[in-house]
């Protein structure tokens, strides 16, 4: 900290406002429906397991929430050789 910082206090309030706006935008949506991530995880798993046998614990779902876009990352570990479900 320099002597100049003393005269220039950190403006943290704009950061607080932006963080709240992004967070609450998402929380308000998810308050109505059930947990979106959990729903997506279950349904994606269901679609894939129609074709391939996959253990539930081999599915990883991550979500990053930003103001303009959110990303949903789905990683499924398929055992080799892939065992196709019998039709």
């Amino acid at each position: 900290m320099t002597i100049f910082d003393f005269f220039r206090p950190t403006r943290s309030a704009p950061v607080a406002r932006d963080r709240l706006q992004i967070l609450l935008q998402h929380e308000r949506v998810s308050a109505g429906a059930s947990d979106l991530i959990a729903v997506l995880r279950e349904e994606i798993l269901e679609v894939i397991s129609r074709h391939v046998e996959i253990p539930a614990e081999k599915v990883q779902v991550k979500m990053q929430r930003d103001e303009a876009i959110s990303t949903l990352e789905v990683e499924i570990e398929l055992p080799n050789p892939i065992r196709r479900r019998a039709a």
């Binding site: 206090p9 950190t10 403006r11 943290s12 309030a13 704009p14 607080a16 406002r17 963080r19 709240l20 706006q21 967070l23 609450l24 929380e27 308000r28 308050a31």
Partner: protein, 272 residues
């Protein structure tokens, strides 16, 4: 027509009890008959803030369970004759409050009072839900701080979903009371501004209560700040807020405590 008002926030320690006492007293000062009701079962404090802690005989749970009549449990304020307190139980379990029992007590209170001001416990569980359940209007107490704003947003969602009024498909009236506000820090960008909080929560503003030593002084002596220091900045803000609840249109401002300088301290008493 009587109005049931819930003072709520989600987060603890933001000033629900202080605000309940201050607004209740301000409404009573205007001549309304007011009952302030403590819903914080097990952690009651409204009695202490109102200075009635040594006069509690019966409480809300006694009335709900039919062990005492409402008139026996109501404690009349020593300073204002139209102000009454219905304390919470300090020893009983909050599960002793039933939804039907609370509904009955609220209906009885509506017969004798113009305003029933319910002090909600913190949290979003049973006690908080029962406190808001029968409300006609809600005051959401919020500090200009991220965790308080987030919790207020959650409580606003519950007011729109879990109250009797919301379930009947009616609009739940909600007002924001911003407490512990420091205009100078907000101006320097160190604290969320009034406009920031209003934009995020998007409910109408009832009042801005400035951070002030008068609030702690008031609870120290057990008297609502609107009575013990009616000229102080927070008291003036609470008095304006109470008048807005009664439908008066008053310009919004942030009162400031008068700075008393050295000369003022020397000679101030004569003028006061």
């Amino acid at each position: 027509m009587s109005q049931v008002l819930v003072v709520t926030s989600g987060k603890g320690g933001v000033g629900k009890t202080t605000s309940t006492a201050a607004i209740g007293a301000a409404l009573a000062m205007n001549g309304s008959r007011v009952a302030v009701v403590d819903f914080d079962v097990g952690l009651r404090n409204l009695d202490l803030v109102m200075g009635a802690e040594r006069r509690v005989v019966y409480d809300l749970i006694n009335v709900v369970q039919g062990e005492a009549k409402l008139q026996q449990a109501l404690i009349r304020d020593k300073r204002l004759e139209t102000l009454y307190l219905l304390p919470a139980s300090q020893t009983r379990d909050k599960d002793a409050l039933t939804s039907e029992g609370v509904a009955r007590v609220m209906d009885d209170l509506r017969e004798s009072f113009d305003w029933i001001v319910c002090d909600s416990p913190a949290g979003i569980e049973r006690g908080a839900l029962l406190a808001m359940r029968h409300a006609d209007v809600a005051v959401v107490v919020t500090n200009p701080e991220v965790s308080s704003v987030r919790d207020s947003d959650r409580i606003i969602g519950m007011l729109d979903a879990k109250t009797a009024k919301a379930e009947r498909g009616e609009y739940m009236e909600k007002h924001l009371l911003l407490t512990r506000y420091d205009a100078a820090r907000a101006e320097r960008g160190q604290m969320l501004k009034v406009e920031d909080v209003l934009e995020i929560l998007s409910i109408p503003l009832l009042g801005i209560i400035p951070e002030s030593e008068a609030v702690l002084n008031a609870s120290n002596v057990g008297c609502p700040v609107t009575l013990t220091a009616a000229d102080s900045a927070p008291a003036r803000a609470y008095i304006d807020a109470a008048r807005r609840l009664e439908g008066d249109v008053i310009p919004m401002m942030i009162p400031a405590d008068k700075r008393v300088g050295f000369m003022g301290k020397l000679f101030g008493r004569r003028a006061a």
